[in-house]
Every structure is written in structure tokens, then in C-alpha cells.
Amino acid sequence: MSARDNILRRLRAAPQGPLPSPPDVRGVQAALAADRPASTRAERIALFCEKMAFWRGEVVRVTSSDWPQKLRELCIAKGVRSLLYGEQGAHAAMLRTAGIVGLKPYRRPVEEWKAELFGDTDAGFTATRGAIAETGTLIVWPDADEPRLLSLVPPIHFALLDAGRIHDTLSQAIDEQDWRSQMPTNALLISGPSKTADIQVTLAYGAHGPKELVILLLVNEEELP
């Protein structure tokens, strides 16, 4: 008998009480939120910004026309010499119009240029699939064009977020975006730069991943500060 068979046989041989009814996650969450009115776009934006600031994420409000220039200014201000991005992405063409110095595409499999990626890349740029207001969290789904390490290895991560895609909670994001039928190889929730409190419960940023997370929040003109 294999280990698999033995383990399953022991589990199936165990006495079973009546099967508990399936958990009603949506029902309980709806009940917990019952005393709150449905959130508005402005409230979701405000809550997201407040929570993201708590995680030390930097939120910069931009519009669909000026974000590449804003990104260029941020890169100059932060001394970024090389900005890694996905060249087939929905925003790539726009990004290239800004004249950012040191723009480089993530073009080859990581094995071919690991040392350069780790040693000589100042910042990475990714799109996002949305965000979660309740916790101040970005939803990032890496793909062939914007690979997993783009948001992890460079010391600064710039993320472009459409303010219209901020959901109240993780559960709502999973439902509304229908995750279960299309899970990618890697899906990520990101709440601030990498951190640790492993030395004497003292918080330090930039443990293994980015030391800075900058969110370019795409808003309408009237929502600019």
C-alpha cells in the first residue's frame, strides 16, 4: 500500500458525525456589513489611500494623460537609472512616450540575466488588476509580459492603479473579478513595501523585496488634489 492509500484509508475509517452545512461566507459577510451603507467611489479611494499610507505605500494621483510624465518626474526625484517594464503591456506604448531614461523591457527568461536583474535594476513598473480598500492592498496578476519578479526584485515598485477598480474587500474582488475560473500561475496581493519585525519587534522596510512602493492612482481631473 502506498503512503497515499494508507493516509486516505485512515481518514476514511475515522468515525464521521453529520456533515456540517457548507459555510455561508457571503451571508455572514453581508450581515457584518449590514449596518454600513454601500460605499461610494470617493470613499473607496479615500479608504484605500489611508490604509496604503499606513503600510508606507506612496500614493500619487495621476490622470490617464499625465501619468507617464508624473512617472518620469518620480524617477528623476528618486534617482532611478533603470526602470524595468513589460513591453507588450496595455500601458507600454504610453509609458514609452514619456522619455524616461533607462527604460528597459523584461524581455528574456530570468535565467539569462539574473545577475543584471538583481544587481542593476533600480525600479520596476507594473499594471494592477485592481485594489482592496478595506486593507489598502493592490491586486497584481503577473503574466508573460509583466513577470512575477518585476514587482519583487527591483528596490522600487511603481504600480498603476485605476481608481475605478478598487473593491471594498478581498471577498468582493474574488467574486466580482471571477477569480476561480481563471486563476493565473501566480496571483498577488501587495500591501506596501517588503518589511520585517523579526529583530526585537522593530519594523524595518526592504527586507527582501522592494524598499519603496509607489502607486500611480488613475483618477478623474476633478479628483486630483
Binding site: L8, A14, L19, K51, D143, P147, N186, S191, A197, G209
Partner: protein, 482 residues
């Protein structure tokens, strides 16, 4: 039913628990570290749950999700195996620590591995994977900052969430200066973390295999979820060519929608964070066209005594655990003796109820007694494990033969002592025979002068016990006569 082979403790035998506790209690630095850290974590958790009624509903939901998942465990494990296999992940089953280590060593040797980088995984600590790898010449490097520090000092974690909580920053500064080549002594936490970052980034690039644990495994999609703040878990599961995940068989849930309620309680209960920096959902290796991610993925499902807890309706609730560590943060015993005194991978209240299944009661029967039964652990448990009840149950199982009709636990009755049995038998005889009881009372009161002045542990900090001059019966009779 074939009992899985007993796993030998390589660390410190649990039988020496009392001696180690005494040493720990005498260590002022250690007590200061734990008291400070636990108070901090207790406060942070409390701030996350301002509304007790809402917390109760969330706990009830989380408990229901875990109980439902466990009730369907064999089906869900088979479903998980199917979906993962469809996603291109190799699924392995291990009955015990030896099985798990052999499976991982086989994979490592197939890839001519010299270095394996590890994300935080308590199950890999439980099976003592690092020892097994070292024995065949493979270096296993811990990459969680706390785990890295602890490994560098040749120790084991003292807390399941904060492994190096027992160390002061001065101790860590000295450790880095001594053990990391080219590093000067610094007490700046930012600099110390920077040193760890630089050392480990080199290792992420050169390691052939990355190993991680699993927080939740989703059966319907074949997704492995990892919770972390540092990003080392993402490194381990993304940079090396091969990713091996290892987990206990109890971690599976049926649906993706079951994850958010558990995840939300896990981080809030553990460190008082509404969410961790990263939540990493992995649903398979690199697909054609993708430029990073592992080319090969494995999941090792470990039993190691979990099926023993599973077969008993009461003990099964042990497996509801989502490993947040809130029970240890709130435990007055853990706070005073620290994680190392327990001698087991999992310390504190959860360790006391899970270790007997992994290691047998013969090695661990003393652990369930390391509790005042104050109930704090059960009160804060986000999935409502009745920890105090399980502690009492395991004390009983340690002292007695199995209840008729129930299969014995491993090490059943290991704490039985002929002396204690004789004392209780004598007590029972006295208290069920009135004549004998009165004779004993008469003798004890008349010869009270013979009571010894040294009474084992009692007189260590108390005055000796001495029978009264007359028995209660005699005093009552005298009062009635008046």
C-alpha cells in the same frame, strides 16, 4: 492499522521540560524579551478586533469553514491532488517525517542540488528537513529573517511566527559580526536587515530549489496560498528552477471563497496586522511564454500523526489550527518560559495539543500539564479550538489506558506511575469506607506532632501542613453537645 514510525526528537527531549523551564525562568534577558514581545502582540491583536460581537461572528464562520473542510478531508485531498496535477504540479504523500525527507531528497538529488533556499515552513521544521538534507550534503538555508538569524546561531525557532523573538538586537549584532564574513558590529536594525538582505539575495540567485510551506491549499482551483511580509517566500517560490511546497494534510479548504475569512483572522490574530505585505497565490509552475517562476513544482502532503488526531471527534479539532500563534502570545506559561523550553517544534498551547500526535505521549505527556487552564488560549483562538479541554483530555490519556472501544493513542498511559496509582487507590479506599476514614482521622489528629517538617515541594515556599487537633466530625459533635 499500521502505526507510522516514531519520529525521534533530535533537538531536546520533552522529558526534560521541567529542568529547561526552570533554567528559562531564571534568565532575565529571555523573560524580558518574551514579556515585551507578547505584550506588544497582545495589544496589536486587540486593536484589530474593536467589536466583540463582530469578532464572534468571524470566529464562528472560520470555525465552520475549518470543521466543514475537515469533515470532507479525504475527498478534498483527492480533489486537490487532481486539480494540482492538472495544473502541472507533482503531488507526493508522506506518512511521516522520514517519508517527507526522502521525497524531498530524491527531488533534490535529481536536480544535483547543492543549495536549497527555504521560506518559512513549520512543517519542514517538524520533519527536521535541514538535518536530513545536511546528512546527504545539501545545504538548506533559511531565508525568513528570523529563521536566518536562528539558523546562523545553530538554534531552532522559539515562536512559530517570530522565530528569533528570544534574541535581543545586541545578541543579533554580535552574531552577525561573528558569523557573517566582512560585517562590522552594528546595532542598527535597518543595517542588520540590510546585511541579511544582501547575503540572501546572492543565495536566491544561486539556489537550485526553493522550498516553502503552505497556509491554505484550495481544492477547487489547485492553488497554494502563502502569507508573508518579507518577500522571501515569493523569492523562494519564483527564482529557483524548482519549487517544493510542504504542508500538513489538514491545510486544505474546498473553495477560494473560504480563504478570505481565514486569512483575515490569521494575520489579525498573529501580529495584529489587517493584512500582510504579500499574499502569494500559486496555481502551477511557469507556463510556456512566461519568463520567470519555477519550471517544476511539487507539493508534499504530510500526515505525521495528524490522522491519529483525526480519528477522534474531540481531538480532531486540533486540526482546525491555522498556525497564527495567538494562543502562545496569550499563554502565561509560554510568556515566562519561552519557546525553547518545550523542546518541540510547536511550542505553547497549540504545541501541547499537537505534539503528542506527532511524537507520541511517551515523549510529550508532560506538555499538556504546562498550563494553568486559565482559558486564554481557547478564548483568543480564531478557529475556536477548545484548547483547555484538549489539554485535560490529553492529561487523562497520558495517565490511563485507552477508553474501552477506542484505539489507544501513541504512548497511551505513558505518564502512569505505580506510586501515584497506589496513592489514589489508598485515597479511594479511605473515602469509601467510613470506619477506615474515621480511624485514619483519629490517628492523624492524635499523632499530628509526628508530621514531617519537610513536605516535598510544598514547604519550598510555604509553611508545613499539619492536621488539626481534632477532626471536623469531632468538632461538630462537640458543638452540638454545647
Amino acid at each position: 492499522m499500521s502505526a507510522p514510525a516514531l519520529h525521534e526528537l533530535q533537538f531536546v527531549p520533552a522529558s526534560e521540560f521541567k529542568r529547561r523551564s526552570a533554567t528559562a525562568v531564571d534568565d532575565a534577558h529571555l523573560r524580558q524579551s518574551f514579556r515585551g514581545a507578547m505584550d506588544f502582540l497582545i495589544g496589536k491583536r486587540a486593536a484589530q478586533f474593536p467589536d466583540p460581537a463582530a469578532l464572534e461572528r468571524q470566529r464562528a464562520l472560520a470555525e465552520q469553514i475549518r470543521q466543514y473542510s475537515l469533515a470532507r478531508l479525504p475527498d478534498l485531498l483527492e480533489q486537490l491532488e487532481r486539480t494540482l496535477t492538472d495544473n502541472g504540479v507533482n503531488v507526493h504523500w508522506a506518512e511521516n517525517a522520514e517519508d517527507a525527507n526522502r521525497i524531498i531528497i530524491d527531488i533534490a538529488q535529481r536536480h544535483a542540488t547543492r543549495l536549497m533556499v527555504k521560506g518559512k515552513s513549520m512543517v519542514s521544521e517538524e520533519v527536521e528537513l535541514n538535518h536530513a538534507l545536511a546528512a546527504v550534503g545539501i545545504e538548506a538555508l533559511e531565508s525568513d529573517m528570523g529563521e536566518y538569524i536562528v539558523q546562523l546561531d545553530g538554534e531552532k525557532p522559539s515562536h512559530i511566527i517570530m522565530p528569533a523573538i528570544h534574541k535581543t538586537k545586541q545578541q543579533i549584532a554580535r552574531l552577525f559580526a561573528d558569523k557573517v564574513p566582512g560585517v562590522a558590529y552594528t546595532e542598527s536594525v535597518d543595517e542588520l536587515i540590510g546585511i541579511g538582505r544582501a547575503v540572501l539575495r546572492e543565495k536566491f540567485m544561486s539556489a537550485e530549489i526553493g522550498l516553502s510551506g503552505v497556509n491554505f491549499a484550495v481544492a477547487e482551483t489547485g492553488t497554494l496560498c502563502l502569507v508573508e511580509n518579507e518577500g522571501n517566500g515569493r523569492m523562494c517560490t519564483t527564482v529557483p528552477d524548482v519549487h517544493i511546497a510542504i504542508t500538513g494534510i489538514e491545510k486544505v479548504v474546498e473553495k477560494l471563497e473560504h480563504v478570505p475569512p481565514l486569512f483575515g483572522l490569521l494575520t489579525r490574530s498573529a501580529t495584529g496586522q489587517a493584512i500582510t505585505t504579500y499574499f502569494n497565490l500559486i496555481t502551477g509552475p511557469r507556463r510556456p511564454g512566461e519568463k520567470d517562476g519555477p519550471r517544476e513544482m511539487h507539493l508534499v502532503l504530510v500526515d505525521n500523526g495528524r490522522t491519529q488526531a483525526y480519528r477522534d471527534q474531540q481531538l480532531r479539532s486540533t486540526l482546525q489550527c491555522i498556525r497564527c500563534g495567538a494562543c502562545m502570545n496569550h499563554c502565561p506559561v509560554y510568556t515566562r518560559i519561552g519557546g525553547h523550553a518545550y523542546g518541540t517544534t510547536y511550542p505553547g498551547p497549540i504545541g501541547e495539543i499537537v505534539s503528542p500526535h506527532m511524537l507520541g505521549l511517551n515523549a510529550t505527556h508532560v506538555l499538556p500539564t504546562a498550563s494553568t487552564l486559565c482559558g486564554a488560549c481557547g478564548e483568543v483562538c480564531p478557529v475556536k479550538i477548545p484548547i483547555p479541554e484538549l489539554l485535560v483530555r490529553l492529561r487523562v490519556e497520558g495517565q490511563h489506558d485507552a477508553h474501552p472501544g477506542r484505539p489507544p493513542l501513541r504512548g497511551q498511559g505513558a505518564a502512569k506511575s505505580a506510586l501515584v496509582d497506589a496513592v489514589w487507590a489508598g485515597w479511594a479506599a479511605l473515602y469509601t469506607r467510613p470506619a477506615l476514614y474515621r480511624a485514619f482521622g483519629w490517628l492523624a489528629t492524635r499523632f499530628r506532632a509526628l508530621t514531617p517538617s519537610q513536605q516535598a515541594g510544598w514547604t519550598f515556599s510555604r509553611t508545613p501542613m499539619k492536621p488539626a487537633a481534632r477532626t471536623l466530625h469531632e468538632m461538630m459533635a462537640a458543638r452540638r453537645r454545647r
